[in-house]
């Protein structure tokens, strides 16, 4: 997998990789190889890829419960990522984190986070460290429209704005927080809310990776110049369920026509139109090959030993008492 995300074909290729990853993961959820299910990112790939295309290798991100796309867009190895979802020792987190906690700190991926809104202040803290070290590193924090209602994220906007932290708030507005439509969940508007904290905000087409990349690039430039945080609202849609368990419990909260209408704006189709059929075929084939290999790698990797269940609990190496006897 190439790290760079410069050409239209590279953008397409990374989105295709994410799509392929999610489809593979969905199959592994069904087969029982991935336990606990996932929050699929399908339909939203342009956001992760467009934003990460504007970042340098040593920039940082924080992610969400719906985090596979972000982690892969920032360059994580799909094989180790899949191994993580399958709970294997070769996983990014040695099988300790799973879908909602995948991290690769060496690549600037500070981790997905299972608590809505919780990663934003962590990103701001990384940005503060960057500012103090004058490292020029910029931090992106991804979150959903639902996350905009979580107090800690709102508090963070104030801190970031006050202290001119090099952090970019990327709101993936997919129209729903689980079953709640944004119209019943969000008073005012996302961008007005950011502006209320003195943060300039912009709404972009979340299905167009190129648009997103240019908006993100402007925000990155602002941050590197010391001008502080920006807010980006990306209008997008998840094509599938909130979480794979939805397939069991049957919820109906989105009109079928709405889903169909958004599917017509598939970000992969939009980006495919910008490259040659050959480029597209090559990218598709490459993604398929990478995921086939990733699947094999993941499923062939060892399960961790239950005796090691509390490895890494304390960074200091401290060990508490066990639970027995």
């Amino acid at each position: 997998m190439t790290r760079s995300l410069n050409t239209p074909a590279e953008l397409y290729g990374r989105m295709r990789l994410i799509r392929e990853f999610e489809e593979t993961a969905l199959r592994l959820v069904k087969s029982g190889d991935i336990v606990g299910g996932i929050h699929p990112y399908i339909g939203e790939e342009a956001v992760a890829v467009g934003v990460c295309a504007a970042l340098a290798d040593d920039d940082l991100i924080t992610s969400t419960h719906r985090g596979h796309g972000h982690v892969l867009a920032k360059g994580a190895d799909p094989a180790r990522m899949l191994a993580e979802l399958a709970g294997r020792t070769t996983g990014l987190n040695a099988g300790r984190g799973g879908s909602m906690h995948a991290a690769d700190v060496g690549l600037g991926i500070l981790g997905a986070n299972a608590i809505v809104g919780a990663a934003a202040p962590i990103a701001a803290g990384a940005a503060w460290a960057s500012q103090r070290a004058r490292s020029g590193r910029v931090v992106v924090t991804f979150f959903g429209d639902g996350g905009l209602n979580q107090g800690v994220l709102l508090e963070t906007m104030n801190l970031a704005s006050l202290w001119k932290l090099p952090v970019i708030f990327v709101c993936e507005n997919n129209g729903y927080a689980t079953t709640m439509p944004i119209s019943t969940g969000l008073a005012g508007s996302a961008v007005a809310r950011a502006q209320g904290f003195g943060i300039p905000g912009e709404t972009v087409d979340g299905m167009d990776a190129v648009d997103i990349r240019s908006a993100a690039a402007a925000a990155v430039e602002r941050a590197r110049a010391g001008a502080g945080p920006s807010f980006l609202e990306c209008l997008t849609y998840r094509f599938g369920p909130h979480h794979t368990m939805e397939q069991r419990i049957r919820l109906s909260y989105r009109p079928a026509e709405e889903v169909e209408r958004w599917r017509l704006r598939d970000p992969l189709v939009i980006q495919a139109a910008r490259i040659t059929p050959q480029e597209r075929e090559e990218a598709d084939a490459r993604a398929a090959a990478i995921l086939a290999a990733a699947r094999e790698f993941a499923l062939a990797s060892p399960h961790p030993d239950p005796a090691d269940a509390l490895d890494y609990l304390y960074a200091s190496g401290m060990r508490g008492r066990g639970g027995e006897g």
Partner: protein, 320 residues
């Protein structure tokens, strides 16, 4: 009567209370869709004014319920994840719980907090697998952890009718349990334990879904050790007289508790027994390890939870 599932029992309790008392209402994320089963069908029956979907603002809607309770309502809040009970500790322990005393008895705060699916959900990893009832027992908020469908029904009803804030932890490991219900479902008094199996050698206190493990262990050991299975049902206030009674009979104590070890409920039970009840052998406990974080991989997740095999050997060890 048919088999009643635990999840259905909770749902029925809520429905019955919504029907009985106009001041009862429900707040939470995705309660309209009934995603966590607790509220299934209730919005259709009672309308979105009484079963209200909330944005992802747990702290605000938890204290909003407090304010509504001060004005005569009896809100029930559903939390989707057990660790949200960390997030709202300020609102429950420092606000709702303290209002009656701080106002000199001017008010009551009849709010019920329900966590349908507390503890490990297998594969939901570190931030979704807590079971933080010991924290609520510590701060002194009424806290129940039903093991059986009939108790889930009866304790949720009592929680809603209680004039004090009350947390109902419904263990993920119990949500699927079914029970033959032969009598009418009735309220279960808060603070009253239940002995599921009488025994003469060892009192085994088990909490929530672990009651089923304790029953299985008692079965396994039948003939070898006579185990009394003691389900406190309410973890705060704990039914100390019933425990003292049981220990009068057995004199030996093992506790199985899905909390971290230090300052968890099992420790409290051991301490209370040690300071004032009959013990003829050192007591033992089977818990999560100190400071546990549940790792994602299933084998690790399970390794951190209290297991039946450990309980069996703890029971044997107190018999030595």
């Amino acid at each position: 009567m048919a088999k009643l599932s635990y999840a259905k029992a909770l749902n029925r309790a809520l429905r019955d209370e919504l029907t009985r008392d106009e001041s009862v209402c429900v707040l939470g994320e995705d309660v309209g869709a009934g995603m966590a089963q607790l509220t299934l069908g209730l919005q259709a029956q009672f309308g979105p004014g009484r079963v209200m979907d909330t944005p992802i603002s747990e702290q605000a809607f938890t204290s909003l319920a407090t304010g509504a309770a001060l004005c005569g309502m009896r809100p029930v809040i559903e939390f989707q994840i057990p660790s949200l009970l960390f997030l709202v500790l300020e609102q429950i322990a420092n606000q709702a719980h303290k209002f009656p005393l701080m106002t000199g008895g001017q008010v009551a705060v009849p709010v019920t907090y329900v966590v349908p699916g507390s503890g490990s959900r297998e594969g939901w990893a570190g931030q979704h697998s807590d079971h933080p009832y010991s924290i609520y027992a510590h701060v002194g908020v009424t806290t129940v952890v039903p093991a059986m469908p009939s108790d889930a029904y009866g304790l949720l009803v009592s929680a809603i009718r209680s004039d004090d804030p009350t947390v109902v932890f419904a263990p993920a490991g119990a949500m699927g349990v079914r029970e033959d219900v032969t009598r009418d479902l009735v309220p279960v008094p808060i603070g009253r334990a239940r002995i599921h199996r009488a025994g003469t050698d060892v009192t085994c206190v088990a909490v929530g879904h672990l009651v089923h493990e304790a029953l299985a262990a008692a079965g396994e050991l039948a003939g070898e050790v006579s185990v009394e299975v003691f389900d406190p049902r309410t973890v705060y206030p704990f039914d100390w007289p019933a425990l003292a009674d049981s220990l009068e009979r057995t004199g030996r104590l093992v506790v199985m508790d899905d909390s971290n070890r230090s300052c968890g409920l099992a420790g409290e039970v051991l301490a209370s027994a040690a300071e004032g009840m009959r013990l003829i052998a050192p007591p033992a406990r089977v818990t999560r390890p100190d400071g546990s974080v549940l790792p994602f991989a299933l084998g690790l997740d399970r390794a951190v939870q209290p297991a039946r095999a450990a309980l069996v050997s703890a029971i044997r060890s107190v018999m030595k």
